[in-house]
Each structure stands twice: as structure tokens, then as C-alpha cells.
């Protein structure tokens, strides 16, 4: 008996060990490494890195970094506007699809397409479509009398153009999660509403919306957090420009660390971002769990 208990304990460790190894060596150790780098000035000389301890100087410099400041503002705008539109569009598309008698499978398949495509390829596609000279956007807007614009090159348009691509890319994801939520709702509530003579609008507002609230909140929070990751599309579409019009957080970190070779300062940016995001995620997850427990 004690022998089998011992082999049980052995297997318990053996089965978890590979995952623990990955999580410790490749997520926790790198974060410690980032912390260490962030208090140094790191210079590359002939393939060797030279570290000089400078304390919290990188973090102090960070407060006055206008590029990073612009990135925080832009990323917040990007996430707030983009995700709001995605949620509203996704919700209505999901409601329509769930009520459609025919074509459900087709809509579902079509709306899956953007989710599965590489972000960088979506950037490439839209970069061609936004092209000033031959892009389809200017061709179509020309048909309705709007003069051609440089959608990605104009200061006032660039961020909106990038947000539009993000809406195209991720509305289907909101659609998919909300549709799954709609399909799991109990049908009795609808039957009761119909017996009471509720109109489809009343049904939507008084039956669907309240019952869907948990799914809506989860989808919204999830999308908001993930929107802060944005990198691929911006990298290809605008590279953060013109000026700082589309500079986003991930891009600033990349720029400081890799393009400008400031590993120490880049690490400080990464650490600040990492801890702010981790805190937001933990708060969101625990709040959602508490909701679910009380609900």
C-alpha cells in the first residue's frame, strides 16, 4: 500500500514536471531576467554585452518618455473604441444568426476566417487595400465621390484606419463567443416571453440581454485585455507612424529593445507593462469568478 502511494506521488510529480519546467524556466526566470536587466545599462560591444548598474534610472527615464506616453494613449483609444464596436456588431450578428433559419453554418464558417489568419497577413492585405494609388478603398470611395486619401499616412486618419482593420479582424471572435452564449440560453424563457406577447425587440432587451450579461462581460474583458497586445497589424500597416499617431505599447517596447538596442531601458518598459497588465488580468479574473459564484 505504501509502495503504491509512493509510486502515485512519483507519477503526480512526473506528469506535472514538464509543464512546471516550461512555466518556471521560460516564463518566471525570464521575468526575473527582465527585472535584472531593467536596473542596468546594457551595451553590446563585439558580440559581448556589457552591463553597468544604474539603479532605477531606467524607470525614472520612463516617466518622461513621450513615445511611451503616446503609446499608452493610443493603445487605450485603440482598445476602447475597437472593442466597443466589435462587441455591438458581434452581438447583433450573433442574434441575427441564431434567429436565421438558413445559412447558419455558412455564416459561422465565413466569420471564422479572419480569426484564423496571421495578423501580419491581415496587415499585408489591408496595406494593399489602403494603398493611395490602386487600393480598393480609394476605388470604392471614389465611386461615391470621396476624393482619394492616404488612409495610413495622414496623421488624422491613421489610428482610425488601424482600428478599422482591428474591427474587421476581431468582430468575428466576439460573434463566435456571443453566439455560443446565445445557444446555451434556456429556451423556456423565450417561450414564456412569446406567450406574453413580447415583440422581438422587447424579447431582446428584457430576455436575451439580461441572460447574456455574464457572457457579454467575459467576452468584453477578454477582448479588452487582448487588444492591449496589438503588434502585428501596426507593425505592417503604419510602423507606429505617421509621427506617433499609431504608436502602441508593444511597438514601443520592440522599438526600444531591438531597434534602438537599449536592452536595459526596453526591459524596464516591458516590466512596467507586464506588471500593470498582470494586475489588471488578476483583478478581472477574480471579479468574474466572484460574479459567477454569487450568480
Amino acid at each position: 500500500m505504501s509502495g503504491s502511494a509512493r509510486t502515485d506521488r512519483l507519477w503526480r510529480w512526473l506528469t506535472l514536471a514538464p509543464a512546471l519546467a516550461v512555466l518556471i524556466l521560460l516564463t518566471l526566470v525570464p521575468i526575473a531576467e527582465l527585472v535584472a536587466m531593467s536596473v542596468h545599462e546594457i551595451v553590446w560591444r563585439s558580440g559581448e554585452s556589457q552591463w553597468r548598474f544604474i539603479g532605477l534610472a531606467n524607470y525614472v527615464a520612463l516617466a518622461g518618455d513621450q513615445l511611451f506616453g503616446a503609446a499608452i494613449v493610443n493603445t487605450t483609444l485603440f482598445a476602447a473604441i475597437g472593442v466597443s464596436v466589435q462587441m455591438v456588431l458581434g452581438f447583433f450578428l450573433a442574434v441575427f444568426t441564431s434567429r436565421a433559419a438558413r445559412g447558419q453554418i455558412i455564416y459561422r464558417t465565413v466569420f471564422l476566417l479572419p480569426i484564423l489568419m496571421p495578423g501580419i497577413v491581415i496587415g499585408a492585405i489591408w496595406k494593399l487595400m489602403y494603398n493611395v494609388d490602386f487600393g480598393i478603398i480609394n476605388q470604392v470611395s471614389g465611386l461615391v465621390g470621396i476624393p482619394p486619401r492616404d488612409w495610413l499616412g495622414e496623421q488624422s486618419l491613421a489610428l482610425a484606419s488601424v482600428i478599422a482593420v482591428n474591427i474587421w479582424h476581431w468582430t468575428p471572435f466576439c460573434f463566435l463567443l456571443l453566439l455560443a452564449g446565445l445557444e446555451s440560453l434556456p429556451q423556456e424563457a423565450y417561450e414564456a416571453a412569446r406567450v406574453d406577447g413580447a415583440s422581438p425587440w422587447q424579447e431582446l432587451i428584457y430576455v436575451t440581454l439580461p441572460m447574456m450579461l455574464p457572457t457579454i462581460v467575459v467576452t468584453l474583458v477578454f477582448r479588452l485585455i487582448v487588444a492591449f497586445k496589438v503588434f502585428d497589424e501596426v507593425y505592417l500597416l503604419t510602423g507606429g507612424g505617421p509621427g506617433t499617431a499609431t504608436e502602441v505599447i508593444s511597438f514601443s517596447i520592440y522599438r526600444r529593445f531591438f531597434t534602438e538596442d537599449r536592452a536595459g531601458y526596453g526591459s524596464a518598459l516591458a516590466i512596467v507593462t507586464l506588471f500593470a497588465m498582470a494586475l489588471a488580468i488578476v483583478l478581472a479574473v477574480t471579479a468574474l469568478q466572484r460574479r459567477r459564484v454569487t450568480a
Binding site: 502515485d8 506528469t15 506535472l16 509543464a19 516550461v22 512555466l23 521560460l26 516564463t27 525570464p30 531576467e33 527582465l34 536587466m37 554585452s49 450578428l93 441575427f96 436565421a100 459561422r108 464558417t109 465565413v110 466569420f111 471564422l112 476566417l113 479572419p114 489568419m117 496571421p118 497577413v121 496587415g123 499585408a124 492585405i125 494593399l128 494603398n131 494609388d133 480598393i136 474587421w168 471572435f173 463567443l177 455560443a180 422581438p200 457572457t215 467575459v218 467576452t219 485585455i225 497586445k229 503588434f231 502585428d232 507593425y235 505592417l236 508593444s250 517596447i253 520592440y254 531591438f258 526596453g266 526591459s267 516591458a270 516590466i271 507586464l274 497588465m277 488580468i281 488578476v282 479574473v285
Partner: protein, 281 residues
Amino acid sequence: MIAGASTAQDRLRRLTMHAALVTAAALVVVPFLWIAMAAFKTQISLMMGELAFRPTLANFEEVLFSKTSDYAANYLNSVLIASVSTLAVLAIATLAAYSLGRMRWPRWTVHLILLWAVVFHMLPPITLVGAWFTMLRMVGLDSSYTGLILAHVTLNLPIAMWMMTVYIRDIPIELEEAARIDGATTPTVLWNVIVPLARPGLAATAILVFIFSWNEFAVSLNLSAKRTATVPVAVASFAQEYVIKHTAMAAAAVLSLIPALILLVVGQRHIVKGLTSGAVK
């Protein structure tokens, strides 16, 4: 009279709904059609914005076979990195999910590991790339396949652990207990009971992890070299050449979509289930 009015109203409403859905579907599909058309055009035909044009395979030939293009090699790199990292993620995640779900770990251990998995999954990968780059360089694995595979395993393990935990939780414990009474050891239970029963979950996880790895850009960009560059890195470099070859870039983009399209056709059901279970539960 009332019934007649309400059916007319019904019909109008149904028409509006369908119109909205068809418009949305068209908006999703048009960019793909447009890029596919661009891939079969000559540069001049694209510039002229021609709708009727004589399709040419020249762009695909240039991208795949010309001496100045590494795209075929990039493609093989992506196949290698996505396949190996997916297999590794599946193995590690299944073992971990079984361990966490069935091996009587203290609750706080399970919660802590799964919570960290969620947090890590949502963090911007770019924050860790600098550290990975420095660490891989220290052990001489920078710009190697091994380094890229390790990074992709790390990025996708958390979501895979979550998905597999959900699927394994749904397997009735009685089946496992029956096997134990018959004298089955842990490896036998895993291989003969858990793996066969978790097959739909494994399929969903495998498809999603493969696609995520195939699509991953930010990490591959910084951890790969010319020799090990993946498809997204190659597509990006097409767009950044001094003179952009728009049609060749379109051809490269079209080719890069093939694996996801195949998986979409083969495993649509699995993908939907995976995406919704991974995020909602």
C-alpha cells in the same frame, strides 16, 4: 387583419436581418478575394485597378522558385516549427491537465498554476521576447529552430493546459477507477483510457495550437535569423523591401493562408469548440 400585418412586419424584419448578415459576410470575404485576385495579377494590372484581367502564375513562381526569394524555405521552417511545437505542447499539456485534474494536488496548487496560465496567455508576448533573446543567446540557441520551438511551446502551453483540463474533467472518473481496479498503472490509464476519450479535445487543441504557432509574428521576428525565418516574418519582409513588390506579397499572403483554410474545412467544429471553451470557461 392583425395576423396579416404582423407577417408583413415579420417578413420585413427577416429581410433586414438577412441583409445585415449577407453584408457582413461580404465584408469579411471581399478582402480575401481582392488579395487572391492581386496575387494572380501583373504589377501593372494591379496599378490600373483592372477587374477583368488575364490571370498569371508569375507571382507564385517568383515567390516560390526565384533565387532571390527564400519563401519556400520559410514555409518549411514554419511547418517544422508549428508541427514540433504543437506535438510538444499536446504532450506536456495533456500530462499536466491529467496531473492537475486527477492526482489530488492541493487546491491552491491547481488554482495558482491555472491562474498563472491565464495571466501569461493574456500578457503581450513582446514583453518577454527581450529576456528570451538574451537567455537564448547565453546558451547559444539564438536564431535556432530549438529556440523558436521553445518559445512557441511556452506561448501556447497555457491555453492548451486550460483546454485539456476542461476536456479531461469531463471524462467520467468511474472509467479510470475501473481500469485501476484491473491493475492498470498511471501510464496505462493515461494512454489507454484518458488519451482515447480525450481525442476530440486533443484534436481541437492541436488545431488551434498549430494555427497560433503558424500565425505567430512578434516573437519569431526577434528570435529568428534569415535561415530560420517563418512565414509571417517573410510576409512582413516583403512589405518592407525598398521597392515593394505588391503582387508578389499578395501571392505570399495567399500561400500563407493555406494551412488555416485546410484546417478550417477539416476541423471547423473543433475550432469553434476550442475557441469558445478556451475563452468562456
